[in-house]
Symmetry: C2
Subunit: 307 residues, 2 copies
């Protein structure tokens, strides 16, 4: 029997990651390209095609050895019909039938889905939420992504748009304006931009998220306070989700999660204070385990298991 | 073949309803007792036993014709093990193995679950949400109950405690205190007591919910404003649920839903303003169809379908 592989693509606003994985989801080869080096939609599609072709060639593989190509995408998609609705951070994409375009150009099976959903698949199968039945996975970055696993299956909702935990509103009165056009959403309080803004206000100079995490580790009160406030907002919103879904586990990943204990402890406190007894007692809060590879691994799971 | 029936009990803080249903969920006989006439837990259990026995006798049935007894209960339960955790509005119940107690006394199959979950089952199978896949059912009363149907199945969560939409927090800053011991929850803004309080403040006299609905129907501005505010809170909270679960339908029942159009229009407006485009466009808002019978019908569905 010939050995089979999966080629996965994790497209972000900054990087385009491509990787070759075996059927045990181990990464055998990878490359990282700059998303911005592709000026137009068609360039980006061609970039993906060339990258996949190179991977097959330089790893001495035949097309028959490729089980499929899986794509994790930074925006709302119709996974069933293989369509990209749009990308909030990459211009020029609107209702693109990306799956069929790539299938025709590559002659391979192609699957695609939203990256937060693939992260949830990966963390549930192989990461922090392995063995748990009802899970919310969230990534904290410029935007806040989410994926929900219920009864051990990825829950999609009608338009494959479930999981938008960033747009759970938490402040009816004088809610901060959010990127989604609405106001008072969680993302408006804990998105990267808001945290960096707050740090700039407090420190009176530009501070990156990484520096803010380092400062907190060194017991800087101002930095600790910013992370505590962030955790408080998160715990408040998550309490609602926990009351509604009686979850087993919440997994948090993404750049902001790098703040570590100070953030996680604050989320926990706020969540326990706000949620109902039974639900709060049961739920566990974990840091994501698969890091930057979650999207690639989730895409491979989607291809192999046909989810 | 002998004709089979199901006996269902809907226990509320005020009434204990008992009914005989056929396997098409039609109610053939019923009685309503006063919950408060039973002073103690054991009296109430005995009252249920006597009522079930009477129903069998006076309808000339044999025990072999009773498929089972289904109970809808006003508090958190462990449906799988048949245990009542407690009732917020009926004192004296704590971790009661009600299913086994009744099974032993009656010699019949007994199933029990939380009443909001049974309402969701009933509205999904036979009521307003018939034919829809992903549904939130909520009852607006003194407390706010909820049941979630996802992918056509009742979603329970780990402790059978999912669906607590009343305890979705909506105001981080200066949130109103809630019965659950926390603050800022939806229930603290739209529970019966709060609405009646607000009406008393505005009208400077006691006003019932029914009168408030009538006044709004007669275009009383003050009454209309109270319902509009109530709807605004509800829409804001529901937007979060719709963003998270990309639902097909929200069904609203219970006493407060009696306010009708003025309330529903306000919920819709607020929901559409707050929720994300794709999710808001898809979701429908319906008034519950089965009214006071939803609990009994849901209990019969549970017995027949073994949910």
């Amino acid at each position: 029997m010939i050995k089979k592989f999966i080629i996965c693509i994790d497209l972000g606003g900054t990087n385009l990651k491509v990787a070759l994985l075996d059927l045990n989801y181990r990464i055998k080869d990878r490359e990282i390209l700059s998303t911005r080096s592709f000026m137009e939609k068609d360039d980006l599609i061609l970039g993906i095609v060339h990258s996949v072709t190179r991977f097959i060639k330089y790893n001495n593989l035949s097309k028959a050895q490729i089980l499929g190509v899986g794509l994790g995408l930074p925006g709302p998609t119709d996974a069933q019909r293989g369509i990209v609705h749009f990308f909030p951070n990459i211009p020029g994409w609107k209702e693109v039938a990306l799956r069929d375009i790539l299938k025709n150009k590559l002659g391979l099976k192609v699957c695609l889905d939203n990256d937060a959903k693939l992260m949830a698949l990966a963390e549930h199968k192989l990461g922090a939420a392995k063995g748990y039945r009802n899970v919310l996975c969230m990534t904290l970055g410029t935007g806040i992504g989410g994926g929900v696993i219920l009864n051990n299956k990825l829950y999609r909702g009608f338009n494959n748009a479930a999981g938008e935990i960033g747009h759970l509103p938490i402040n009816e009165k004088a809610g901060a304006p959010c990127n989604c056009g609405s106001f008072g959403c969680l993302e408006a309080y804990v998105g990267n931009k808001r945290i960096i803004q707050e740090a700039k206000r407090v420190f009176k100079r530009a501070v990156t998220l990484e520096e803010l995490s380092r400062l907190a580790l060194k017991h800087n009160r101002l930095a600790i306070d910013i992370w505590r406030k962030t955790g408080k907002h998160l715990g408040f919103a998550l309490a609602g989700v926990v009351n509604l879904l009686n979850l087993d586990v919440i997994v948090i990943g993404g750049g902001v999660a790098g703040a570590g204990n100070v953030l996680f402890e604050s989320i926990k406190q706020s969540l326990i204070r706000q949620a109902m007894g039974v639900q709060a007692k049961h739920v566990r809060l974990f840091k994501a385990k698969l890091g930057n590879e979650a999207g690639l691994i989730g895409a491979a799971i989607m291809v192999k298991e046909g989810l």
